[in-house]
């Protein structure tokens, strides 16, 4: 490795959980070193809470924390303006303004290409433009090299997605696994809906995954399905949802309830999440109408305590066990 290699910091928050393999491969092929912030801790959270506006949501506050950890040690911080990652949808307004939010803290070393794949006719054009802008910012101007890097990124992303579709967790793929994979056979399954950045951050989710796995549950989330499949199920709504993650969450919930793939659904929502307030309500109503599936809505913010959540989860698990016994007796 070269001595004075350019380093690009990637905060371990928000869409890191979806796109890190792509970003990592892309930068590596451009001869740039990526540095990921360390897993979220209470300290990350605290520094984020201090820096961000009170009214914003927990994942954005956590993002501030990760950003602050990296900003002084890396040459550039990779902070794409993620307007849209698939045709005809957005992600969330806060993602569209994220670089401005962090720039307002006074930092200038941001690498913030606009990623807007909303218009299907300009999909490739905009993707290429984003790749070129990013590459130029790290001093690479050759289209051939950028093309190769982008292709490598897309390949890495495909591999990552297909591994997720086999049921692996992002945390197992992105860093060294801490939790042993659960024994899948015969176990009851819980469908977990939420944004990847709340579901897979162990501080934000208050060890929810660990808890459920320790109790022998198999966990399914929207990231374990192909996006096209979930989009197809979400189409049954009278009007197509215009948020990518909302769409995937509704799609997963409809898929699970239609084919009885899970024994219960937990929706992990963060306080003040604008998109979830709408999609969560829809999901809850659709699930309730369709019948017997237990449904739990857990709302968290920086003041949530693990004990409180644990009590609710235990009660929810008891209900699932009870349902199973009842089903066995009646069936």
């Amino acid at each position: 490795m070269k001595e004075n290699m350019l380093t690009v910091g990637v905060p371990r928050a928000l869409l890191y959980y979806d796109y890190f393999p792509l970003w990592h491969a892309f930068f590596t092929h451009l001869g740039v070193k990526t540095v990921v912030s360390s897993p979220t801790t209470k300290a990350t959270l605290d520094s984020g809470v201090l820096a961000a506006v009170d009214e914003t949501c927990l994942p954005v506050k956590v993002f501030y924390g990760h950003f602050l950890e990296l900003v002084d040690t890396c040459d550039l911080i990779f902070l794409p303006r993620l307007v849209s990652v698939e045709p005809r949808t957005y992600i969330c307004p806060k993602f569209m303004g994220l670089p401005d939010l962090l720039r307002s803290l006074g930092y200038r070393n941001l690498l913030d290409p606009v990623i807007d794949l909303r218009d299907p006719r300009r999909y490739l054009h905009n993707l290429w433009a984003a790749a070129m802008t990013t590459a130029q910012s790290v001093g690479v101007g050759s289209a051939v090299q950028v093309g190769r890097a982008l292709w490598a990124g897309i390949k890495a992303q495909r591999t990552y997605r297909s591994q997720l579709c086999q049921g692996l967790m992002p945390s197992e793929l992105l860093s060294k696994p801490k939790v042993a994979p659960a024994k899948a056979d015969g176990a009851r399954t819980i469908g977990l809906i939420g944004h990847p950045y709340t579901l897979f951050d162990e501080v934000i989710n208050l060890n929810l995954l660990t808890f459920l796995r320790a109790h022998g549950y198999r966990i399914l989330t929207p990231v374990h399905y192909r996006v096209q499949l979930l989009t197809q199920y979400a189409r049954s709504l009278p009007k197509e949802l215009f948020w990518s993650y909302g769409r995937r969450m509704v799609g997963a919930a409809l898929l699970w309830s239609k084919y009885h793939l899970v024994d219960g659904i937990i929706h992990l929502e963060t306080f003040g999440c604008g998109t979830d307030s709408i999609t969560g309500e829809l999901i809850e109503r659709l699930i309730r109408r369709s019948g017997q599936l237990p449904y739990l809505l857990v709302t968290i913010d920086e003041h949530s305590g693990e004990a409180g959540i644990r009590t609710r989860l235990e009660a929810f698990c008891d209900m699932i066990e009870f349902n199973a016994i009842k089903g066995a007796v009646e069936g």
Binding site: E55, K94, G97, D100, I278
Partner: protein, 365 residues
């Protein structure tokens, strides 16, 4: 076709909509004026973290349905702000409550006017295009008239007797609502504007505050607890660009090209602080605040938004820098169903007490 139609309140939008709907020969059930009960009904049946406009408009629908309304007319959109999906979720909530109704969602006619008319006809029955056009033009003229008179009112209120100003404004609204001739609208508006102008005798308040934020909370007095009136009564002249005709243009009349031009204009203004459209009125908030501060037109800015409003949170995050760079105080106020009148009044008084007067020679008249 004798459909009983209703719609949500947003400030004085009812006057505009009544004109259009009456012209189409429809029976209109206007929701009762938004009250504590409306808000309580709406909040009880809404998702907890939905924003305030969602809750109030749902309350409007519930009260209108109680009065026998059959068809709900609601606006839509295509994101990223939640407003675009309001109607869909409200329909599900009302259905689960066992209400009997139809919903007509007016979304920007992206496929052209013919498609738009076709969809209206599907639900409201057929009517001649000529009449729709007539009603529409009348409604638009009324919106412009309201904006004109409100602008004069906001200049007059801080220096004249507020009770008299209120009386004039109410008289204007009552007369405007009754008019059904296009030509009379303009006469009425200019008459009342003159009336208000005379009241102020060429004087102008030295205290001016720019109001930016989410448009529903700016326009709807029940959502902002009469913020604009409160400021006027404190002797402050309100400067704002968010008005009723602004909303109508943005949602219903502007074509894609004009919209893009408007957006790039806003982006140019907001660029040093916010470089991208963020949905809702986030970009407007930053661009307008910046313009007010830079021009020396105001002594301070107030941003008002519903709690959890995503675009306004983005704007709120960068506004402190605008405030710092121009030396003008900016106050952000979030409202929800818990907001209390006394608390708001206290905050406004404290904010106004600290304001330096505008340099009048600089700002012009």
């Amino acid at each position: 076709m004798s459909q009983k139609v209703t719609y949500p309140h947003m400030g004085t939008l009812n006057i505009v909509l009544n004109s259009v709907l009456h012209e189409l020969g429809l029976e209109v059930i206007e929701p009762p004026p938004t009250s504590k009960r409306t808000l309580a009904l709406g909040a009880a049946n809404s998702p907890e973290f939905a924003c305030l406009p969602f809750k109030i408009t749902l309350g409007n629908f519930l009260e209108a349905l109680e009065l026998g309304a059959e068809t709900i007319i609601m606006a839509g959109g295509c994101g990223p702000c939640r407003f675009g999906y309001y109607a869909q979720v409200q329909r599900e909530i009302l259905t689960d409550l066992g209400c009997n109704f139809q919903m007509l969602v007016l979304e920007a006619p992206q496929n052209g006017w013919l498609q738009f008319l076709h969809r209206i006809r599907e639900l409201l029955g057929s009517f001649p295009v000529r009449r729709f056009r007539r009603g529409w033009l009348l409604g638009l003229a009324k919106a412009k008239a309201i904006d004109l008179v409100e602008m004069e009112m906001e200049k007059t209120r801080p220096i004249a007797n507020p009770t008299i100003v209120d009386q004039i404004y109410q008289a204007f609204l009552t007369q405007l609502a009754a008019i059904d001739l296009l030509a009379e609208v303009e006469t009425l508006a200019s008459e009342y504007s003159r009336h208000l102008r005379e009241l102020r005798q060429g004087r102008r308040s030295p205290l001016r505050i720019g109001v930016v934020g989410e448009i529903y909370t700016v326009l709807e007095p029940s959502a902002n607890l009469d913020l604009l009136k409160k400021l006027g009564n404190l002797g402050v002249e309100v400067i704002r660009d968010l008005r009723l005709s602004h909303w109508i243009a943005e949602h219903l009349t502007l074509n894609a090209k004009k919209k893009a031009a408007l957006r790039s204009e806003l982006e140019r203004w907001a660029k040093p602080y916010l470089q991208y459209f963020v949905g809702g009125h986030g970009l407007e908030s930053v661009a307008h605040a910046l313009r007010y501060c830079q021009s020396g037109l105001v002594s301070g800015v107030i941003q008002i938004a519903p709690l959890t409003c995503m675009p306004e949170i983005v704007a709120h995050s960068v506004l402190p820098n605008v405030s710092r760079d121009f030396g003008k105080p900016i106050l952000t106020i979030y409202v929800d169903e818990q907001t209390a009148e006394a608390g708001l009044q206290t905050r406004l008084e404290a904010f106004v007490d600290l304001l330096p007067p505008v340099d009048i020679s600089l700002a012009g008249s």
